[in-house]
Amino acid sequence: MGRESGQKLAEKECNCTEKNEDGGKKVKPKGEKELLINRKISDKDMKKITKAVEGEIKFIIVGDLDLKSKYARSILVVTDKKIYAFDDAFDGEVFSKEYGEIKKAYVKRYYGNAMLILAEDEDKKKRTNFIRFSYKVASLYDAAAYFIENVASGKDMDEEMDAIEAAFEKQFSVCPKCGRTLIRPGAECMNCQSKNKMFKKMMKYVSPYKVPILIGLLLSCVTTVVALVPPYMTKQLVDEVFPNKDERMLVIILVALVASYIVQYGVGFFRSYILRIAGEKVVTDLRKDIYAKAQHLPMTFYDRTSTGSVINRILTDAAKVQDFVMRITQEVVIQFFQMIGIIVIMLTMHWKLTLLSLIPVPIVVIGAKIFGEKISPYYRRIWRRWSAATSVLTDTLPGIRVIKAFTNEEGSTKEFGSYTDELLKTVTSASKITIMFPHIVSFIVTCGSLLIWGIGGFEVINESGSVSPGLLISFISYASMFYGPVSFFANLNDTYQNTLTSAERLLDIIDAEPENDFGKGNKIDRLKGKFEFRNVNFSFDRTKKTLNNVNLTIEPGDIVGIVGTTGAGKSTIINLLMRYYDHYDGEILVDGINIRDIDMESYRSQIGYVQQEPMMFHDSVFNNIAYGCDNPHIEQVINAAEIANAHEFIARLPDGYDTVLGERGIGVSGGERQRLSIARAILKNPSVLFFDEATASVDSETESQIQEAIERLISGRTTIMIAHRLSTLRKANKIIVVDKGEIIEMGSPEELMALKGKYYKLIQIQTMSDQIRKTKEEERFE
């Protein structure tokens, strides 16, 4: 097919389309294969393209930058004959390359943009900067580069299209509502799944306690009604009892007032107690829920969110919501009923005066709305400043040893000081508004009272008969009582806006996408331990590729050593195997099953993972070894410690297994911590084991003890070990050499030595440095 077929395709393009996030379309011409295009382009442009290109169009990528890195549309068109770049920067000029001219095609990542480069030689000396794009379409261009290079090297075009289709499918897998990328096409969007109104979400926490809350509300009604009695009694006193000098009635009224106060305060106490407990329970549930949710958030969340910010949400924000819930359950209802009750009474007493007293209300309501809009950004800013200050605390206090070692106490204090000063500045700006508003409300309300005094006073003086002195005094009392709830509701907006900011932050966690566990329920009995990576590409963010087209197979029982320089991507391989990150391209299989399709808990429970810096908790040695195991037998723990070469040093501790370690394991040495973590892994009895530089930071003697423990542990289990010291890999039957995110060598140690490549060089370097180290250690010993 040549130019003609492209034209034909364009003519038929509008028959059937599917929208994607950019308003783009997946074009499906009738009776023909779907044309892959990531964004909508006009019919005119499509015609221009089909006119200009030669061959059958395989796919089109519409980008957003021109070659001069200005925002403009650029289009890559890949046909079965050539590759075309349409770039507005060159006035409609079209660049093209034939597959025969290309030896290498790759994406060069810059900062905030990238370039598709086509090279005519293996060394990439004769290269063309073909098309520039932002990271928005980087994953499509990655796939395009592989496609072009593979097709240029003679691979089957139709087979290569599978990867392109998968890349486009992923690009199309976006939530139509919020635009987030879905883990797979058709998957439910975790963001929108629970995106209901905040109130509804908060009600979920309130509903379990509806009985005590309802009882509290009923009691509130009682206290509200009783609270309305005293002003009425005042009217009786002024208008009836005093003019008639009725002593008997005076006593009766006083007794009635005492009774009403007893009911008001007695019932009030009981009501407050019930509601307080219910409120505390609501917030405890909320706090537990947030913590539980935080446990299931993916590593990407923690990569971007400071611990201080999370702690701030669990403690401070939950407390703010608690305060608000308390106010809602205790005061709002009372104030509301009181307001209604007073209006009814006032209307029955004197409707004209009642209408007068309502005049300030609309002014206050409008004022509260304006206030809410003004104050809301301030509360967000305060939250951010507060969170930043908390982050400094959580960052620096655990590192107090480093601060002292570098005598940076003053610097650290200054840093915290500057954050709190920033906070103070924002709070000061907010205070102007928050303090001014209640005063304005009070002023307006007071003016309302003056209006009643004025109009009512004239009526009393002129003795028109409709207003008696007692009625006026009583009315003023009710009006004051009425303005109380009005001010309360106006000022509630302040608390509400403040709480809203906290609630938003809490929902940030509650609504955050948890780790994807699409295989939930698909449990596996025991892993055999065969792992496969198929065309795996991964980057923590789009700025730099961490793993680049990784393909490898690990057989059951293999002991695999991963070596390479720092930052080569070794730990990333383990991170992906641990399913800490799921947003990679390609597939990772275990025993022939995609790891994403296995129940996460069941999968991780079969893996023993020993890290370079093992995490110990502020708990006993016993509990640290038994971490994650339900009630293990004491002797199992001792056995595990024995195998891990840890029992001896534990036995020497004054408190033995009951020794409580400090935060993050303070109290035992690095090597001892490592042995405890190995004991922990042994107790778990995993099917497979991952070691991430387990002996990197210990001396030679400790290393040999740990090594001994590791060798006991790994027998019969698939084991993947990352090691800087290659001597730790003496049991490995397979070595994988990783460099700049790519596997450059793979095979048995003997094969790689014979290859005399990178592994050989590493061994040479390390043998030399080991000798030097040994000599130095011997010298030191002597």
Binding site: Y110, R127, K136
Partner: protein
């Protein structure tokens, strides 16, 4: 090997590709295909520019671009401009929030675009009082160099999120 610092005019640069240069010392030493990169992309735009070879190994560091020959300085600056795309926001047209995604329609020195971020806290950050950095959901970067240079409306729109 001691780190090679360049802070005088003893060297000249020849543009090789959009982001690559050749470096020649007057004593005859020559390095090819070096990529200038900022060691401090946020804070030191013209200072401490590292020069990496095709293997990513550092060959030298330029202490301050101002100390280079004008022609060399221009070449390095052009390379850096090609490498670093951090559009400078000059005006904010509109900010909308839908389903937790913030869309900021902006004018930049590179043209009009829409910054999309799903997390205000991570996506928009104010540094040094008046500078604002944006990082969108695709990890593209943008910045407002000085808030005070924006028009009043733009400032009001963005201030709500700072």
């Amino acid at each position: 090997m001691a780190r090679l610092y360049i802070d005088d005019d003893s060297v000249r640069f020849i543009r090789k590709d959009i982001t690559l240069v050749d470096m020649e010392f007057y004593d005859g030493r020559k390095f090819e295909d070096l990529e200038p990169r900022r060691l401090f992309p946020r804070t030191g735009l013209g200072k401490y520019i590292t020069l990496l070879d095709s293997e990513g190994e550092e060959k030298a560091i330029i202490r301050n671009l101002e100390n280079l020959l004008p022609e060399s300085k221009k070449i390095i600056e052009e390379c850096l401009d090609e490498f670093y795309l951090i559009p400078k926001v000059t005006k904010i047209n509109k900010i909308t929030i839908k389903s937790g995604t913030v869309k900021i329609d902006v004018e930049t020195n590179k043209g009009q675009t829409v910054i999309e971020t799903r997390n205000i806290l991570h996506g928009i950050k104010r540094i040094y009082g008046t500078r604002v950095l944006f990082r969108d959901s695709d990890d593209n970067r943008y910045e407002i160099l000085d808030m005070h240079q924006l028009d009043k409306r733009s400032r009001r729109l963005i201030e709500e999120y700072l």
